[in-house]
Symmetry: C2
Amino acid sequence: MPTIAADPAEAVPAPPVAAFSPLYQQIKALITRSLQGGEWRPGELIPSEVELAARFRVSQGTVRKAIEALADENLLVRRQGKGTYVASHAEPTTRFRFLRLTPDAGEAGALERRFVDCRRQRAAADVARLLALKTGDAVVQLRRLLSFGGKPVVLDDIWLPGQPFKGLTAERLADHDGPLYGLFESAFGVRMIRADEKLRAAAADADSAALLGVAVGAPLLSVERLAYTYGEQPVELRRGLYDTRAHHYRNELS
Amino acid sequence: MPTIAADPAEAVPAPPVAAFSPLYQQIKALITRSLQGGEWRPGELIPSEVELAARFRVSQGTVRKAIEALADENLLVRRQGKGTYVASHAEPTTRFRFLRLTPDAGEAGALERRFVDCRRQRAAADVARLLALKTGDAVVQLRRLLSFGGKPVVLDDIWLPGQPFKGLTAERLADHDGPLYGLFESAFGVRMIRADEKLRAAAADADSAALLGVAVGAPLLSVERLAYTYGEQPVELRRGLYDTRAHHYRNELS
DNA sequence: GAGTGGTCTAGACCACTGA
DNA sequence: CAGTGGTCTAGACCACTCG
């Protein structure tokens, strides 16, 4: 049993059993909190290294290491001579970070997004579990067709938690141009940080076959994505069917 | 027109148009060369930071930055208190770095590798192009079946350039235990650094269906992998068919 | 030219490993 | 305990951007 010191001033400090955390990781956590709290918004410039060093009372090198870690995780973007920016899904450079489908040959034709459906409903058990909700909680479901150069290639079913995406409607989607994640961050303050995907081969059912213009039973690439925002919180479930006759899913192993 | 100095000693030094290369990147290149040349072999300990700093006449911090970059690329592994090791595909921790197939539920059953075929032949045009060879050059072709818990799940066709893999035979493969890339690095001095994969959905043909125990026409995940060694040199082409009825290909987007 | 991030150094101290 | 990598600091200088 631990001894209790009579005088609080003499209390034995808690031994650092496994509680060692480097300064730069603490700074990293503080910066992340400011990002999450909206102190600096996507696309904006954050304070310079020297300013942050003064603010946190640490050396510039420590701030630098924290920022470098966040840049590695694609939360920040550093630009020499200019400053450090909050990453945004609206930027042209980051736009295809999450879309891994590429034409087998040549340039990608113009990308077109068509929303087939948008409805609010109650979460089924599997959807709720993945989104860390309770069965029956409100969710928004979207169905979307992605076309390259006029040809439909991807059919996505998307589920979003009802709460942060309260005002999401078909009009809102139709008005918006550009990547969905850009809309999510600008209109709903939800920033997608990372995602896990599970890929399988599947046979097209009648519905998917009609929308994608393939034969019933044709092989399709099935992609289930769970996307996370800050703090490993899941905020989007996506089930996609890809027509891979003229496109492929590219991946780099390292 | 540039002026030519009469005295060579007075020659104007070439302006650093775009030729700036940080010291730590030069050190990184030197370390890479030693790795490539076999000065330190996979699994071995490389010299300490202070030793390398003395050897290259730079500060420890510069060496550290070079090593950190190489560790990020999975060429080196740092272990506090012990030292820095050359990464190896034989290590249990790195063994599944390139195999992204995971069972949908539960633990992966025992992995079993069975080689169906191993032959030397002349490269077809497409294989030659991908491996940076000439059509008709010698290649080794392997056909391999991967089973989890006794059930066949992956059928791989593998092409290797004839040159570095001269002594590769069916016996050699049968004798070896563990990942193929472990054999490649220990027996042939070829270390796989990274790989590009292209994923598609395909229908099983008679051959594949029989080997994988699925129906003809069943959807399979098709994975074409091109693996590279040092200097972005392609050294393996792999065409795999995955049965994804009880397994999936996992990927993380970030 | 002023301000930004990028590189390089030198030195101190900390955490971890193994003899 | 000595040796390793890991953290933190302070300061100098370089490369890039923009007004």
